[in-house]
Symmetry: C2
Amino acid sequence: MPEFMDVHRGMIGITAEGLAAAHNADLAIQGDEGVVFKQAWADPDSGFVYCLSEASSADAVQRIHERAGHPADEIHPVPLKV
Amino acid sequence: MPEFMDVHRGMIGITAEGLAAAHNADLAIQGDEGVVFKQAWADPDSGFVYCLSEASSADAVQRIHERAGHPADEIHPVPLKV
């Protein structure tokens, strides 16, 4: 399945607990769209959050993020990986 | 060691071979700065490349990327991960 990297901006001050809660909110409903969120990384100082997922499309990723309350600012397929 | 996510823009048309060559150029000299590049993802259509690394600082990551010929456009520490 294609992989996607999405970016959320403005999450300044996010905590480990906040990141886990947001990630768990995605995991709880990801199956509805056939999405698999694999990993997320966050920088509380700059407010950037990066999420790596497998999905059929960027739209499927966004639908889950929107329903979980944190739409992504950018989503890019990442067909190449090393 | 802290982890960092860096972003390169404008790599439109990058190929699997090009990504591997760029990554290998980093790996060949990363030890000079104590950096460990762990993974890189690329989107040839939008030209975004994301690199995950472990390093003592963002500057150390950038010094390797610059010497390898592909300075990053952004580098953010990602102290939180799920």
